[in-house]
Structures are given as C-alpha cells and as structure tokens.
C-alpha cells in the first residue's frame, strides 16, 4: 500500500539527486520514509537518499518496493508547476503508479524491482578529513576545474588547515583554496584524492547551491558528500570512488 501527496519541488529535488547516476532505481516505501539507494553501472558513484514521511503533505506506506524509470517519472513531475501538489498512489493489482497533478492523471507502468541492479552496501570508510562548505563554493571549484581538465583533486592540508580544489590541464592549472575562515567547518586530517569530473559535475548539478555540504575525504579513498533538502527532512549522501595514481 502506498498513497502520498508531496510538493512538486520536493519530489523533483529527490528524483534529480538519483537520476544523475542511474536511469532506473528501486524505491523503498517504508512506513517512516521514502528511500532510494543506487549505484551507477560502473560501480563508481553511489547515492543514498531518504525523505521522511513528514516531508510529505500526507504519506501512507507499508514497506513495499517499486521499480521506476526515473526519466519517465521526472518528465511527469516536470508537468507540475512550482507549488503544485503531486498525488501518488500505487495500484497493487496492476502494479502501476497513479499520478495526479492538478487534474492531469498519469498511469506509470513500473519495472520489476528484481530486474534492477542490486542496491549497494555502503562501504564503511574511515575518512581522515571532514569539510563543511556551501554548495556554491564546491560548485565554483568544480566549474573552474572543468575548464582545464577532466579530473579534479580534492585535498586537505592539515598544517595550513585549508581545503584545496585543484585541477591540472594540458597547459593550465586551477587552484581554489578555502581556509577555515571560508569554510563552515573543517576537521583537518591529511587527505588527497583524485576524482572524475564527469561524475562530480553530475552530482554537483543536484546539490542545492545554498545547501551545507559535508565532505568526507581520505587518501586515495572515496569521497562522501552529504547534504539536506526539504527543510532538513530529506537527506542525500553521495559516494564517489577515486581515480588512483598508486598501483
């Protein structure tokens, strides 16, 4: 059983954060929250999303799992104006999701959840540095790095207590230094890892510019990017595997 009413903006924000990595996913309709965990086919980027029942205007669910084509669902959600409410109701018999937006009614065929890639386990990582910054600062570093390279280094210098976003291109370099005055918070430990900009750019698209992004970083280790949306009732954690120089 699943029946919910949610603001279009909240649903779009939730779906966008997942669709940057995968085309289809399983949605867990738990009693207390709406949850998605997915990893891209190359096993490089992962997203873990939860949206508490309180983020919905109304929410009733009993722990079912549905499989959806995200592009399709986003298209439908795109029919709603900002501020519109979206009504969702699962028909258990037909295994279809009924969606209503201001008189518009759409019946979405679902995908057998067993045919969708298994949800990943979240690696238990011991990351030495934690940087809390604004989404806009991260975005600025990523945009500049993208002008010169297809990969980006994220680094913490514990002596200087500074976080660096760096890129080396064929001829040009980009370097954004953020020290503890620029950052919301910094737990400095030695950390330096290289990442594909293709992935990071996609994740960055979904991260609200005004959000506080908690970045956990290690030495040639995956990075964790955590932020909240829907007034703190929605949580997203991205994890991205590094490009490594050793080995």
């Amino acid at each position: 059983m699943f029946k919910a009413i949610v603001s279009a903006d909240t649903l779009k924000d939730a779906l966008d954060s997942v669709s940057v990595l995968v085309d289809e996913c399983k949605i867990r309709l738990n009693e207390e929250e709406f949850a998605i965990r997915a990893v891209d086919p190359a096993n490089v980027g992962m997203v873990d999303l939860s949206l508490a029942a309180a983020a919905f205007e109304s929410y009733e669910a009993d722990g079912g799992v549905i499989g959806v084509n995200l592009g399709r669902l986003e298209d439908i959600a795109g029919m709603a104006n900002s501020g519109d409410l979206i009504h969702l109701e699962l028909n258990e018999e037909t295994r279809k999701l009924h969606i209503q937006i201001d008189g518009l009614s759409y019946t979405l065929a679902l995908i057998d959840p067993d045919s969708i890639r298994q949800e990943p386990d979240i690696p238990d990582l011991d990351l030495s540095a934690e940087i809390v910054l604004e989404g806009s600062q991260l975005s600025r570093g990523i945009t500049a790095a993208d002008m010169v390279s297809d990969h980006i280094a994220l680094r913490v210098d514990p002596d200087e207590e500074a976080f660096y976003i760096e890129a080396e291109g064929d001829t040009d370099d980009v370097d954004l230094k953020l020290d503890s005055d620029d950052l919301i918070d910094l737990t400095a430990g030695a950390a330096d890892s290289l990442f594909s900009l293709d992935y990071l750019k996609d994740m960055n698209k979904a991260i609200p510019k005004a959000a506080e992004v908690t970045t956990e970083l290690g030495e040639e280790f995956p990075v964790k990017l955590h932020y909240e949306f829907a007034e703190g009732l929605g949580q997203v954690t991205y994890m991205l595997a590094p490009r490594i120089q050793s080995e």
């Binding site: 990893v39 086919p41 190359a42 096993n43 490089v44 980027g45 992962m46 990943p120 386990d121 690696p123 238990d124 990582l125 297809d150 990969h151 080396e168 291109g169 064929d170 001829t171 290289l194 594909s196 293709d198 280790f221 995956p222 994890m239 595997a241 590094p242 490009r243 490594i244 120089q245 050793s246 080995e247």
Partner: protein, 420 residues
C-alpha cells in the same frame, strides 16, 4: 617588413602539408611526376580496359560525393597488391611504397549526390562500382573516360584513408567478367531489413577484415533498404572500426580483468607504439606525440604536438576531438587482443610519430602496428605508474607532461567495491 606582421594570413593547412610532403622526399615528387607519364597515353574519350580491385568514395564536395573505380592501369597482373589491407604490413611496405601503389591507381570517377538511395542500383557506373566493392577479387572492367587523368594530391593528404591516385571523369563503365561474391556478403546484401551495424559485425565474425567491410559499407550495400547510401571511404573506415570495436567491447563487459600490468611495443613507418594493459574495468586512451617536422606538425621549430582522447567504462557518446580515426583503429586492435584472451583491461596506447613519418598513409598503419605489437614479447610491470615512467624515458616529453595530458596516466578509475 612582412605583410603577415600587419594582417593575419590564414594558413592553408593542406598546402602546408603538401609542401612538407614534397620537401621531405624528392623521391615522391619524382614518383608523382612519373604518375603523369604513366597515364600520359590516356585522354578524354578513351575507353580503358583494366581490372578494378577496389573503389573510392571521396568526401570533398559533400553532399555531392565523388565515387570512383580504382584500376592499376598497366599493372593488371598484380592488381591485388594495390588494395589497402593488413597484407601491406606483413609485406613491410614503406611510406614510399604506399604512395607509389596508391598513385598508380587510376580513379575513374563520377559525382553522385550522397542522398541517392543505391539499394537497388545494379546498372550503369554506380552498379559497376557496387559489383567491384562486393567482389572478393579484382574484376575486369572497361571505363569510358571523359577527361584526362589529373593528380589531386590535396585529396590524398588524409590521415584516415590511404592517399589516392590521379582522377579522371568517367562517362560510363562496364564489367568484362562476372564478379565472385562471397556467400556472407550476398546474405548481408539481400537482407535489407538488417541494420548496418549488425551486418558489419556478422561479416566480421565470418572472417572478413575491416578493410573488406568498409569497402562494402562505402558502396552502400549494407543496412536497411531506406538507409543504403554511398559512404565516403574515410568515414566508412572509422564507422567500421567503431562498430566492430563496440561489439567486441560489449562481449567483454563482464569478462574477468587481466591480473598484471603488461607493456607491449611495436614500431612501423616512423611510428612507435606502446600499449599498457592494466587490471580493472575497461578504460581506453590514445595519446599521440607528434614530432616537429612530422606530417601534422610541419614546423620544425614547433614543439612536440600532444593529442589525446579517452573513454571510460560506458564508452564515448561523441566523436573524438583530437585523435580522429587513429583512436578507433587503435581501440579496435586492443579490443581484438583482449577478445582473444577473453579478458578486459584498462588500456593506454602511446603513439610517437617521428619526423620519419613524412607522408600520411592512412590509419591501417595504426591498426596493423598495434595488432602486431601483441604478437611480440611484452614486459611486465609492478604498477601502472612504473610502466608509464619507464616508457616516458623513451618519449619526447616528461612523465609529468604526460600526466597532464593523459587521463589514465593521471589516475585510473576505481570502483566502490574495492573499498569494502
């Protein structure tokens, strides 16, 4: 004072390359002068009897393409050796040989709008051209020429297809013998619901090499009926390398990875190739170093010219930006080797083009040199970085510069699974 100090004079790149090809070897100029003599007896209005081992579809003037029958007039008995294919490598032909062979082919051509649907064209000049493309050996033809053969070297300086010979306008052409068409080619010809990609892979799996397949594709004899068009030779070469490459890549998607870092090497026609294969999921990159004075970097005072293109596990969504057809030819050769051992790998191909490479012979040279690199011995390395550092000693750039240019040298993509 020079005018160029006041106004920007647009350099004609083709003219520059042509000048270079001339400067580097007097032999080729002699040879090219000789071409005129060789065909001096031929003039407009003549009917020329010869054999045709292959065809050429030129892209200049697109969407009107020049579609031609190639004939080694005067050398009919060994017509087969004039066809570009892997046998040239086995034979060890030199750059001079390539120019000599290709410029000994008379290109009797007509102009055809590329949108012409040729699915049922068996008559006239285009019909003869199709028969030649489909046949598995040179066939006898007679062409009626409208003009005198003229050498068009600009058309020859092309890094994808081999150089072309003198061109003459043709009025008509007829076959003087019945062509022999292999059974699988008949099958792909007759099935006009079959998409071109699938038909290309079918032929490849039946033992046809990419050279034969691109000739057939070029004549518009593959694919769904509505899509059967002439394809310029240059594009057909890359299309076949890419299509067969993607097919082989698909087969390896779930293959076990190689378990050591291996380095392979080969040299051919002034080009050195190093291939590093390393454990992990598929990634591929071609990095090219073009020495000053080589064909695409003609200014002897210029620095080394670096170019690279890369793809990750999901492949590319667009055409490469810097390395053109060489990328697809190199990728195919690497994928063929991985297919033969049933593994996947991360592959970095480094190509050093020295100033001995004075004339572009076509990407068959890249494809065959890399295919044959895997026939030779290889070295093993502890790590990918060690392999890169070792090879960099033999390259004209430092390993730091290489890391700046190369995505793979900078870092290899890991998966989240190894961090559990």
């Amino acid at each position: 004072m020079r005018l160029s100090e006041f106004i920007e004079i647009e350099k004609n790149e083709r003219a520059e390359r042509r000048r270079l090809a001339g400067e580097k070897s007097y032999e080729i100029l002699d040879r090219l002068d000789g071409v005129g003599d060789q065909f001096a007896d031929i003039s407009g209005g003549d009917a020329v009897g010869s054999v045709s081992p292959s065809i050429f579809v030129g892209r200049s003037g697109y969407p009107n393409v020049s579609t031609g029958l190639l004939s080694p007039v005067g050398n009919e008995s060994d017509a087969g050796q004039f066809v570009t294919d892997g046998a040239w490598y086995e034979e060890g032909v030199s750059i001079g040989d390539v120019f000599e062979r290709r410029t000994s082919l008379l290109n009797a051509s007509q102009t055809t709008p590329v949108e012409t649907n040729v699915h049922d064209t068996w008559e006239g000049f285009l019909g003869v051209q199709r028969e030649v493309a489909l046949a598995d050996r040179p066939i006898g033809i007679e062409v009626g020429l409208n003009g005198t053969p003229e050498l068009d070297l600009a058309n020859s300086v092309d890094e994808v297809s081999a150089p072309t010979g003198p061109r003459a306008r043709a009025n008509d052409a007829t076959l003087t013998e019945n062509p022999h068409v292999p059974r699988p080619v008949k099958k792909t010809l007759e099935d006009d619901d079959w998409r071109a990609g699938g038909a290309m892979n079918y032929l490849y799996n039946r033992g046809f090499d990419v050279y034969e397949i691109n000739t057939i594709l070029s004549a518009g004899a593959l694919g769904q009926q509505a899509n059967r068009r002439l394809v310029p030779t240059r594009w057909s070469i890359t299309a076949v390398d890419d299509t067969v490459g993607q097919y082989l890549r698909g087969k390896q998607r779930n293959a076990t990875s190689v378990d050591t870092v291996s380095v392979w090497h080969n040299e051919y026609l002034g080009n050195s190739f190093w291939i590093i294969l390393a454990p992990g999921q598929w990634e591929f990159e071609l990095v090219e170093f073009k020495a000053p004075g080589s064909v695409w970097n003609p200014d002897p005072a210029a620095g080394i010219w670096l170019a690279s293109d890369y793809e990750g596990r999901e492949g590319r969504s667009g055409y490469v930006e810097e390395t053109a057809g060489a990328y697809y030819a190199a990728r195919l050769a690497v994928l063929e080797y991985l297919d033969s051992i049933g593994r996947q790998a991360k592959a970095l191909v480094l190509r050093h083009v020295s100033d001995d490479y004075w004339g572009p012979v076509g990407v068959w040279q890249v494809r065959e040199a890399i295919r044959h690199a895997f026939d030779g011995d290889h070295a093993e390395s502890e790590t990918f970085d060690d392999a890169v550092t070792g090879i960099a000693e033999q390259l004209p750039v430092s390993s730091a510069d290489l890391q700046r240019k190369s995505t793979l040298a900078a870092g290899r993509q890991t998966g989240l699974d190894i961090f559990k």
